[in-house]
Symmetry: C2
Subunit: 192 residues, 2 copies
């Protein structure tokens, strides 16, 4: 039961496996993104981290708006391709059917079950990275991914990226409901 130390380079928690989209020099481009989280409810803000020099980062800085598209299991090859290939070298938009929403020139992927349009709320330089704070403006899906009017993650086939091992996973067994199962440990009415 003795604790041992590991190299500090691991981050052994599940991360999303999604596609970050933007127009770069007038051309739709997409990259694989795992470094993303929600940070606020009012307004609905998400933060993501990209290298400052990344091609997609240039597009987001140009346009001040971008998309996040959530692929299902069937798009895992395309997702990974977008992570290992730069839009400087190949036109990645050709592998998808592109559509546009309310924000007009923000490219989204028709084959993805959920696509989100965001505007840039803030940009923060952090070492060699750009933290982009995005405000969620519109979320698009299709009727076939809903159950009782709500998104159904089993119908989407939501993917996680984890490391180690460096791989994409489906969600598995539901262990417990959140904001619920912990009530049994409360000794009195605590607040969160």
């Amino acid at each position: 039961m003795t604790k041992i130390e590991l190299d500090t380079g691991v981050a052994p928690f599940p991360k999303p496996a999604v596609l970050l989209g933007a127009m770069v020099d007038g051309k739709p481009n997409f990259m694989n993104l795992a470094w993303l989280t929600r940070i606020s409810f009012k307004p609905h803000l998400w933060v993501l981290s990209v290298p400052k020099t990344r091609y997609t980062a240039e597009g987001i800085r140009q346009q001040k708006k971008f998309s996040i598209c959530i692929p299902g299991k069937d798009l895992v090859v395309e997702l990974d391709y977008c992570g290992i290939t730069s839009g400087r070298n190949e036109d990645k938009s050709k592998i998808f059917t592109i559509f546009y929403g309310e924000l007009k020139d923000v490219p989204m992927i028709k084959e993805c079950p959920v696509c989100v349009e965001l505007t840039v709320f803030d940009e923060i330089e952090m070492v060699d990275r750009l933290l982009i704070i995005g405000e969620v403006k519109h979320i698009y899906t299709e009727e076939r991914y809903l159950t009782d009017g709500k998104l159904d993650q089993d119908k989407i086939g939501i993917l996680s990226y984890t490391q180690p091992p460096s791989a994409y996973f489906l969600l598995g067994e539901k262990v417990a409901d959140a904001f619920s199962v912990g009530k049994k440990l409360r000794s009195k009415a605590g607040t969160s």
Copy 2:
């Protein structure tokens, strides 16, 4: 196949389900944390978002250091309890065996398969939230969670939080290896 719009309040990608720990007024405290991601390799930086008024946020601001402990499936009740109960009202440290590492007064949970000590690299106020940028200083585990010297997520039982539905899930089926399966779409040697 027509796209329909959803309420902008959903964030349908997997998030980690971990415990954020800090000393607050000299007492170990832990909260449930899902809004966490990695943001940099050099140095190893992670970002998390907490309400400015949160009890744990006070501790992090006091000490400029904190912990992130990664629970397995067996700790799901304790994890959820730490999300629905404030340390202002109940002493949450009593439900865990606390240990300390190199940073001395950063409380960690012995029952968690992986515990990480971080120092505050930066703090950013964002609406009613505090974005805390943490630099990973030490990562602790036990031999029984390793396979061939590497963390084994099946042995840990790593949890995700997703919404909808608001619940904790184990990782499921491995779909593909990352930085690998997408190579078949490359038309020439692209770079990431």
